[in-house]
């Protein structure tokens, strides 16, 4: 039986960043990465960017590592392999092809899946997703979109989040007639407030994207290939392409069956350790104790995955390190820049400090709990992201600074001194 000192399940940003960190510190220990995709690390982030899709950036730039990087660093890349179960007592992991590996330290960085559209007629009679319906998780998905976008005329994006937003931007730039369907009453509800959402909706409308709110698809038309959709209110929309960006699901069955405690994702403490000895987690799938936000959280983005991979690796090597990082996510499209910092969700115990306004096309909502900040949503104010992250990270007491936080012309860096 092959034995790995460090076995990593997941070949994305978190898994590879962990492998890299291990190799920097331990030149000898055997490292293996199991990935269900055949590809070496690529930029999942790039997959939704118009510049990439429209060929402004060469396709090859999607690769984050050179082909020989794994070999040069003595890291075994086991691509196209699927983990089936593991035994935390015997410390072995088995793949669906029957291969079993022994491990000393195991990292679960399996990522998440795109949530499937639950409209029955989205599938053909024999259960396949109809041609023209796209999700965006893998490079394969990206290639499918790139191919169809060349000939498609009319597209619909489903969902009120960043995938739908970035895809709408791309579709519009590619010259397609584009409609966005939101199940919610405004864009990116409930993470944004309706005022922030309106800024984005106005930008979408100005670019010619038709946004339909409170919309649910009742039926998908077409036998094998998509021809259009009928909404629950009877509206019929013709289209040859649908982009679904309706959230994620957590593929946890085998992980749970192996004895790992899960809730929404894989539960972990601040050291990214799971309930099982010598088993860690990192990336989109990790539901960890955030010591800065003082809550259990899941953050699904590239920066967070990379940072968590690094921290998990340090802990796997016995260098006890808590994960301490204010996560952030930014996106842009239609001339608008959107950023989320920390925990941006609103809640009953949270105070929202508005900064700027939709009227000046620059509006942030700074979110506080008690005397400290925990997060922010920002439209066209990404320049202040650094300062807000630092205010959260340093647990700055802001109770006497509310006026400054609300003054859009006040330099937030001054609160850091």
């Amino acid at each position: 039986m092959d034995k790995y000192k460090y076995l990593i399940v997941g070949g994305g940003a978190a898994g590879v960043s962990a492998a890299e960190t291990i190799r920097e510190n331990d030149k000898e220990g055997r490292v293996g990465i199991i990935s269900d995709e055949p590809y070496i690390l690529y930029s999942r982030v790039m997959l939704s960017k118009p510049n990439f899709f429209l060929g402004k950036i060469p396709f090859e730039s999607v690769w984050m590592k050179k082909e020989d990087w794994y070999k040069t660093n003595n890291i075994d890349f086991l691509g196209g392999k699927i983990a089936k179960n593991f035994d935390a007592t015997a410390k072995t992991l088995t793949l669906t092809d029957g291969t079993t590996f022994a491990y000393e330290k195991l990292l679960l960085a399996t990522g998440v899946n795109a949530r499937e559209w639950n409209v029955p007629s989205a599938k053909t009679a024999d259960g396949k997703t109809k041609k023209g319906i796209h999700y965006l998780r893998t490079l394969e998905d990206g290639k499918g979109i790139m191919e169809q976008i060349k000939t498609a005329k009319r597209a619909i994006t489903v969902g009120g989040g960043f995938i739908s937003f970035e895809m709408a931007d791309l579709l519009k730039l590619a010259g397609l007639e584009t409609t966005m369907l939101l199940r919610e009453s405004y864009f990116w509800e409930p993470i944004l407030d309706s005022a922030s959402a309106k800024m984005l909706e106005d930008a979408l409308a100005k670019a010619g994207v038709k946004v339909i709110k409170n919309a649910e698809v009742a039926e998908v038309l077409g036998a094998d290939s998509l021809e259009g959709v009928i909404l629950k209110d009877g509206t019929k929309i013709q289209c040859d392409m649908v982009m679904c960006g309706i959230g994620v699901t957590y593929p946890l069955e085998w992980i749970k069956a192996s004895g790992v405690a899960v809730q929404k994702g894989i539960l972990a403490n601040e050291f990214l350790e799971t309930n099982l000895p010598d088993v860690w987690t990192a990336g989109d799938v990790a539901e960890y104790s955030d010591i800065l936000l003082e809550e259990r959280t899941i953050m699904g983005n590239w920066v967070n995955a990379k940072e968590q991979g690094r921290t998990a690796a340090l802990n796997m090597m016995g260098k006890k390190t808590p994960f301490k990082f204010v996560s952030f996510y930014t996106t842009s499209g239609f001339g608008m820049n959107i950023a989320f910092v920390g925990d941006a969700s609103a809640g009953p115990d949270r105070v929202i400090i508005p900064r700027g306004s939709p009227e000046i096309n620059s509006y942030a909502r700074i979110i506080a709990v008690g005397k400290e900040l925990i997060g922010a949503t920002m439209i066209n104010r990404t320049v202040e992201m650094n300062a807000i992250s630092k205010l959260i990270e340093n647990n700055v007491d802001i109770s006497a600074k509310l006026a400054e936080l609300a003054d859009p012309n006040f330099d937030l860096k001054k609160l850091l001194n």
């Binding site: 730039s61 984050m64 952030f328 930014t330 842009s332 820049n337 990404t382 320049v383 650094n386």
Partner: protein
């Protein structure tokens, strides 16, 4: 190069003498800021700019460039040779 911004680095003992941000590639993911907030910031167009090219050591600077999901940060040595991405 097309739409790039160059920043000269003259940190003592450093092998890197220039940081370049390709603004066509930059998507404002801000992973460079996660590694070194002292070096970078996002500007009004949601693109990374260098606020202090001398803020950190070479290892951290290389890490910040490596962290970029679009490889928009390029590093050059004194001879003008590109040291990242290799």
């Amino acid at each position: 190069m097309a739409n790039t911004k160059e920043y000269i680095r003259n940190k003592e003992g450093s092998k890197i003498s220039k940081v370049v941000v390709d603004r066509d590639l930059c998507i404002g993911a801000a992973s460079c800021i996660a590694v070194s907030g002292a070096t970078y910031e996002l500007d009004g167009e949601n693109k990374a700019i260098v606020i202090d090219p001398n803020a950190v050591d070479d290892t951290t600077l290389v890490m910040s460039a490596e962290s970029c999901p679009t490889k928009a940060i390029l590093l050059f040595d004194k001879e003008g040779k590109q040291v990242f991405p290799k």
